[in-house]
Symmetry: C2
Subunit: 345 residues, 2 copies
């Protein structure tokens, strides 16, 4: 093997990259809103910000990946929903502050750059953006053959939103006696896949699921649900009842323990009523096949609730009416120092 004399010979296919960029550009163009400015060759994405709509605006931003869920997408050759996962994981993170999403960017790194695969992946990102009404204003597609094996890739996303400072949801209004509402998850979302894949091996993915999904693979790939619209409806309902959302937790990496306590004031915790919401079959399957303890399940997975919402007890009914599939799942309690702040009963 002789030393390469061009970038192409070194494993970087510049022409295929250009084909990929064309398709990405087309996908992104479908998400453009009037706030997006063109120009200067796309080094940076340009978004016209109208500060008039927000008193003391706070920009809220989040970055996330989709974890090893993408190894399932790779194994099944289905790349069109992993981008939706990415967008919704990030949007839910910024929604927790009460922010409205403004725009999105993605980073995609691949071993083998194939324009059709890139198109599927970024098409999913664009679809997620379009569903949320925000533009995909930038991105990077990098071919790194020595870092990623053959068909492997990684995908990271970045969302920016805005909220008026007075509208920030920061947990300060939470009181003992408040109620906890759960917004159902569509499945694992984007967390716990290293354990899920170790328990449900690839040869099981084509097997039929009873109930919610056609196959185990389908259930594992079910996209991360966005709570942006749900939370908007919920907040509107609570405000017209004279209240507001007291606190939100996005149940992501670290499960319930890792996410609920950090959204509550010190000294407060949550008593959760196990059985008060429907648990998607994929969780039961993972737990049974893996003989996994209940405590490990809720430390690793969302087990059916992707977002918890704390509201004043008097406004629970209004909240439940605003989001039809929301469930009343527990309440805020005082917790002595050193005791667990999330208890399942």
């Amino acid at each position: 093997m002789s030393t390469p004399r061009t970038y192409r010979e070194a494993g970087v296919d510049v022409d295929e990259a250009e084909r990929a960029v064309e398709r990405i550009t087309r996908a992104a163009a479908a998400t453009v809103t009037p706030a997006v400015l063109g120009g200067i060759g796309g080094f940076g994405g340009l978004f016209r910000f109208d500060p008039g709509s927000y008193v003391d605006p706070v920009l809220v931003s989040s970055t996330d990946g989709v974890g090893t869920k993408l190894l399932i997408a790779v194994a099944l050759g289905r790349h069109d929903t992993i981008g939706v996962d990415l967008v919704n994981a990030c949007l839910n993170d910024i929604a927790v502050s009460g922010a409205n999403p403004l725009f999105f960017l993605d980073y995609l790194a691949l071993g083998d750059l194939r324009a059709d695969v890139v198109e599927e992946i970024v098409g999913g990102v664009a679809a997620g953006c379009a569903a949320a009404g925000i533009p995909l204003i930038g991105g990077e597609t990098a071919q790194m053959p020595d870092l990623y094996r053959d068909s492997h890739y990684d995908l990271a996303g970045f969302a920016v939103g805005v909220v008026a400072r007075a509208d920030l949801i920061d947990g300060s209004r939470v009181r003992a006696g408040d109620e906890v509402i759960g917004l159902p998850s569509s499945g694992l979302h984007t967390n716990g896949y290293s354990l899920a894949r170790a328990v449900l091996l690839p040869e099981t993915w084509s097997r039929p699921m009873n109930g919610d999904a056609a196959t185990i693979g389908d259930a594992l790939l079910e996209p991360h649900r966005s709570y942006v619209d749900d939370l908007r409806a919920l907040r509107r309902a609570l405000r017209s009842g004279g209240g507001d959302i007291h606190s939100l937790a996005h149940i992501t990496g670290g499960g319930w323990e890792g996410n609920v306590p950090r959204t509550l004031p010190a000294g407060l915790g949550v008593d959760v009523d196990t059985g008060s919401w429907p648990v998607p079959r994929i969780f039961t399957l993972i737990q049974q096949r893996g003989d996994i303890a209940d405590e490990e399940m809720v430390r690793t997975f969302n087990v059916g609730i992707g977002m918890t919402v704390v509201v004043a007890a008097g406004l629970v009914d209004a909240a439940l009416e605003a989001v039809p599939d929301a469930c009343r799942i527990g309440r805020v309690v005082e917790v002595p120092q050193g005791q667990p702040r999330v208890r399942f009963a």
Copy 2:
């Protein structure tokens, strides 16, 4: 081998991840500015935006990675500068629009999560942010043992900046007869590493370099230079002379051809005077060892100029005075359709 019953047994070390998060938090804390708001457990980074300072503000954002430069960092076990590369690659992309950087987020995915390595990497990101005076307000650290081999990782960054719409640099002022100034690069920056690594094999990296760096490895790892301060000084000088920057190109992936033309109006191109700037020795070495054609060099590498600046001919001296190591490297010319828009003579 029995089926794992916990997330840890599935290869995710939750405790080491917590140690890593502690160190990341410490590194990020050193970059905090008064605009950063704490709160709600870090699902999203909160940045108070003062729209008063910008008439018709445009948010400019960019995402980038560092390419396979990180394989050199991994091989040499030196992880403390790759984060500086990441920040500066992104900041230069938004500076091209004339934007001031506001804040930064990073995404780090690793095979083997070791808190000390994470600390080095994110410490570099924080150092880059601190040097630019912006906060690192968010990030994601993901352990994905089945996607990344042993000590491998990938790193992506996201920067957001702002510019008043009237101050956007969009190339519309460029005219034939304008001069082109080059801002020196510190080396390869973050592009062309797949070719560089194929030509300069790992066994050469400990060999001494004549001149600018101690070893070839040092020269390859030299951090991406930030042009944020240079461009600020340059713009101030030009404006006090009654002019402004007409156009900027960040010489990144795609080299000169891939980046200069897209910042110029149609029908215009650039005649570059080869030899008008000092070429760092690392480029000469790569070209000689790889027997690489001149055209391939400028299509793949920055070859010593990381940013090109187009200014009116009458203001070149003011520009050169503002950035002491800037070089006058060419001029804007009319180019008939179908002809190359960057010519080296």
